[in-house]
């Protein structure tokens, strides 16, 4: 057996074993079902604590609806988000139940949280301003939604970062549209006179 054949065979064997174990491999239905089950458990726990779980229950339904079409990666993403939101809401509610001081700390509008909320509002305003002149960029709205989702899981730093980028995009999109308001034939397309 040549060295080349041996190496090829060894590589193939390694990949057949290693790839399924890594994130390189596409998500399997069992992984999606597991993520949904975990999300449901968190959802039930949150509901039992008196938290309004209508939105996250809807997200879990949405994840389940993706299984027949084999969109397992997306189903996992949505289920994980629902789980994180319910767990965060539960932690907030538990903090309030444990005592007055603990509850105050848990429910406090921290400067980070306030800053993130304000920046999201500013980003949405910038997005709408850009949209009003046909200058909205492709990803601005998605970034704002991601920032809002991060707020629901207590990831305020992440929310702030996303909202800051979205706000910047909105401002740039508006400036761009205004600068291009009189766009016309460029000099290289005009007949030479």
């Amino acid at each position: 057996m040549t060295i080349r054949r041996f190496a090829a065979g060894a590589l193939t064997a390694v990949m057949l074993v290693a790839l399924p174990m890594t994130a390189t491999w596409a998500a399997h239905r069992t992984e999606a079902e597991a993520a949904i089950a975990t999300a449901k458990a968190a959802n039930e726990k949150a509901a039992a604590a008196g938290i309004d779980t209508t939105e996250t229950a809807g997200m879990i339904e949405q994840a389940e609806s993706l299984l027949p079409t084999k969109h397992y990666t997306k189903a996992i993403e949505i289920a994980n988000q629902a789980q994180k939101e319910d767990e965060f809401a539960l932690s907030q509610a538990s903090g309030a139940a444990e005592g007055e001081v603990a509850g105050e700390i848990a429910n406090e509008d921290t400067p980070e949280k306030v800053k993130a909320e304000e920046t999201i509002a500013a980003a949405e305003s910038a997005r709408k301003k850009a949209a009003s002149v046909g200058g909205e960029w492709r990803d601005t709205g998605t970034m704002i939604k991601s920032a809002e989702a991060a707020m629901k899981t207590g990831e305020y730093a992440k929310a702030l970062e996303l909202a800051t980028k979205a706000k910047h995009q909105g401002e740039l999109g508006y400036a761009q549209a205004m600068a291009e308001a009189d766009a016309d034939f460029p000099s290289y397309m005009k007949p030479k006179q």
Partner: protein, 279 residues
């Protein structure tokens, strides 16, 4: 009295001259547009521009000609034909809306003076459906692409002849708006349609040759290998916008209808050759 008559006559002459000057602008634009591409690609016969990148890419053309022997849009034409012949729930058919038959693509887009808007064939189809109690079709793909494919096929050979009526300044505004959209830089990548399809037409973007804009609207709807199915001009507009990281306008929005008005006018004189097959 004599002075008033003189003044009115002078005003009338001035208005007539101004109207002709305004009307001359689209014609001058078209001449500049077509001259630019003919100079950039001097070996391409005029009608060949309707074949897009396959007019300037010999290897791509060889593949395309092989594909055209068994065109991937044939099923769409058959489906569209069936749609044309199938009565609505109220017993009427598309022929009741379009009495001259399916070979009418060269009448679109056109300026609707009564409603003060550009009307495209896709819009007219859905207006026909709604007038007969049917739900409108989605504009980017699906059944509307099939029906448009059938009508495009029946209209092959007709000469593109978009008109900007001189007696309605709103039509000129729509044309100018479409022109502005085509030349405006947009999105995070700050590209205009002209960036790729005029300035860089014939060059390569990753593995693809950028097609010249002359003839762009002649062959829609298209079967695009990338999509694996048919798609309309709305679908392509949206795709291009997303590629430069701009948010697309809504399908058949005023913006996209005005854009189609300008872009199709620029190809006046070319023959329709849809539906098409593209990568």
């Amino acid at each position: 009295m004599r002075n008033i008559i003189t003044m009115l006559a002078a005003a009338g002459v001035a208005c007539t001259l101004a109207t002709h000057a305004l009307a001359a602008a689209p014609e001058e634009d078209k001449e500049a547009f077509q001259t630019y591409f003919k100079a950039r690609f001097p070996n391409v016969p005029e009608q060949e521009f309707a074949n897009g990148a396959y007019a300037i890419d010999p290897i791509g053309r060889e593949n395309w000609e092989a594909i055209e022997e068994f065109p991937p849009y044939e099923t769409a034409i058959d489906n569209g034909h069936e749609m044309w012949d199938t009565p609505f729930a109220n017993g009427k058919t598309y022929k009741d809306c379009f009495p001259d038959g399916p070979a009418i693509e060269n009448r679109y887009p056109h300026w609707d003076k009564e409603r003060g808007m550009v009307v495209t064939l896709a819009l007219a189809i859905n207006e026909c459906r709604e007038a007969n109690g049917e739900k409108p079709l989605k504009y980017r793909k699906g059944p509307i692409a099939d029906l448009l494919a059938y009508m495009a096929y029946e209209s092959r050979g007709q000469v593109i002849d978009v008109v900007i009526p001189e007696d309605d300044p709103r039509a000129m505004e729509a044309y100018e708006k479409g022109k502005q959209i085509w030349f405006a830089r947009r999105g995070q990548f700050n590209f205009s349609c002209a960036s790729c399809h005029a300035a860089n037409s014939g060059t390569t973007l990753r593995t693809e040759i950028l097609s010249p804009a002359l003839g762009h609207t002649s062959h829609f709807p298209v079967y695009r290998s990338k999509w694996g199915e048919m798609g309309t001009l709305d679908r392509r507009f949206a795709g291009c916008f997303k590629q430069v990281r701009a948010k697309p306008y809504a399908p058949q929005s005023e913006e996209y209808r005005d854009l189609a008005y300008f872009l199709t006018y620029m190809s006046n004189g070319l023959e329709l050759n849809g539906p098409g097959a593209r990568k």
